[in-house]
Amino acid sequence: MMKRDEMLKAFVRQRKDEIVVAVYMAAQELTHIAPNDLNYTFIGAMGQGSSHALGLALGRPDKKIVVFDGDGSLLMNLGSLVTIANQAPKNYVHCLCENGCYETNGSVPIPRVGQIRFAELAKTAGYKKTYEIADLGEWERELPNIIEDEGPVFVTLKVEPGETYPENFPRLYNVEYREKFRQTLAKS
C-alpha cells in the first residue's frame, strides 16, 4: 500500500509535459504538491474525471493525458471504461487511486470493498494494457513504461491517505484556472 501523496510526488518527479486530470483527494493534494497550469481539476460532478479526460485525449492526440481517478468515482461512471476503450485513445493513461472508500464523503467503504479487480474490468472493457501496483518502488520503476505504452492504459494504485492537505473545492472548479489551462494547452 502506498501513501497517496508519496505516490503523487513520485509521479511529479518524472512528469514531463503530460496533462494531468485529477479528482477529489488526488486533485486536492496535487494542487499543493505540484501546481502546474496543465493540471485539470475542473470536474464539476463526481465520477466525471475519466470522461473529461477522454475529451482532452480526443482533442489533443499529440499530448499524453494521465488521469488520477478514484474507486468510488469510477464506480459512478463504470460505463466510461467501455466508452474510452471504444475510442481507444493511444494517449490515455487511467490511474485509479484505490483506497476502498468514499474518502471525501466520510470514508464510508465502497460496495464490494477489496473484492473488485478494477484492472480486470478495464481489460474486459478493452483497455490495451493494465497494471496493478501497491508498492512505491514498483510505481517509480514502471512509470516510464506506463507513460510510453500505447493506450488506453489502466493502472490500479493501491493507496491510503498520507499527509493531510487543506481542502479547497472552489480552487478545483475555478473558471479562471480553467481558462489558464486552455491558454497554456493551446500554446503547448
Binding site: 485539470y40 475542473f42 470536474i43 464539476g44 460532478a45 465520477g47 466525471q48 474525471g49 470522461s51 473529461h52 479526460a53 477522454l54 475529451g55 482532452l56 485525449a57 480526443l58 482533442g59 489533443r60 461512471n77 460505463g79 466510461s80 467501455v82 466508452t83 471504444n86 475510442q87 472548479y173 473558471v175 480553467r178 489551462f181 486552455r182 494547452l185 493551446a186
Partner: protein, 169 residues
C-alpha cells in the same frame, strides 16, 4: 419527403456552419435514424458514442478545454438522467455544452409545455430554472437558430439546449 417540415440535412448543415467536428451522442429515437446515422457516415464528423449521458457532458467539456467545438445529442430522458453533471459541469463550471435533445413523444406543432407527455412537458421549465438557453426546432425554417445557439454558447462559455420537436428526415 419534399413537404416534410424538418430535414436531417438542414440540421447537419447548421452543425457544419458552426464549425462542429465532434458529435458526442447516445442514440435518441427522434434523431437516430436519419440524423445520427447520417453523421456517423459523414467523414466531416467524428461521432463519439457514450454509454450514459453524463459522460457526454464531460467529454464535450474536455474537448472545449482542448480547443474544440462539439455538440451532444441525446433523448430528453438522458437529459433528465444527467441533470447533476449538467448542473455542476456545464452551468456552474461555465462549459459551453451544446445539447441537442430529442423530445420523444411530443405531439407535432404542440408546445412542449402543452404536451400530454409528462416527461416532455417538464423539460422547458427545468431548463428555465437552470438558466439554460433553449431553442425549439420543428421546421427547417427554425434550424438557423442552431448555428447561432452554438455560436452564442461558445462566445459566452455557457450551455444551451436545442430541442428537436419532431423526427428530422
Amino acid at each position: 419527403m419534399a413537404d416534410y417540415p424538418l430535414t436531417a440535412e438542414s440540421i447537419k448543415n447548421q452543425f457544419k456552419r458552426a464549425g462542429i467536428h465532434f458529435v458526442v451522442a447516445l442514440p435518441d429515437r427522434v434523431t437516430s435514424h436519419y440524423l445520427l446515422k447520417g453523421l456517423i457516415n459523414d467523414p466531416e464528423f467524428k461521432v463519439v458514442q457514450v454509454c450514459k449521458e453524463d459522460e457526454g457532458v464531460s467529454i464535450c467539456s474536455g474537448l472545449y478545454a482542448a480547443g474544440h467545438k462539439s455538440v451532444f445529442m441525446m433523448q430528453y430522458t438522458g437529459f433528465l438522467d444527467s441533470i447533476n453533471a449538467i448542473r455542476g459541469v456545464a452551468v456552474e463550471g461555465h462549459f459551453p455544452v451544446c445539447m441537442v435533445v430529442g423530445l420523444l413523444g411530443k405531439e407535432p406543432d404542440v408546445a412542449p409545455t402543452q404536451s400530454k407527455k409528462y416527461g416532455v412537458k417538464i423539460i422547458e421549465p427545468i431548463l428555465d430554472v437552470m438558466g439554460i438557453e433553449r431553442y425549439l426546432i420543428e421546421r427547417d425554417a427554425d434550424t438557423a437558430q442552431i448555428g447561432s445557439a452554438i455560436d452564442k454558447s461558445f462566445k459566452n462559455s455557457s450551455p444551451s439546449a436545442i430541442l428537436i420537436g419532431r423526427e428530422p428526415r
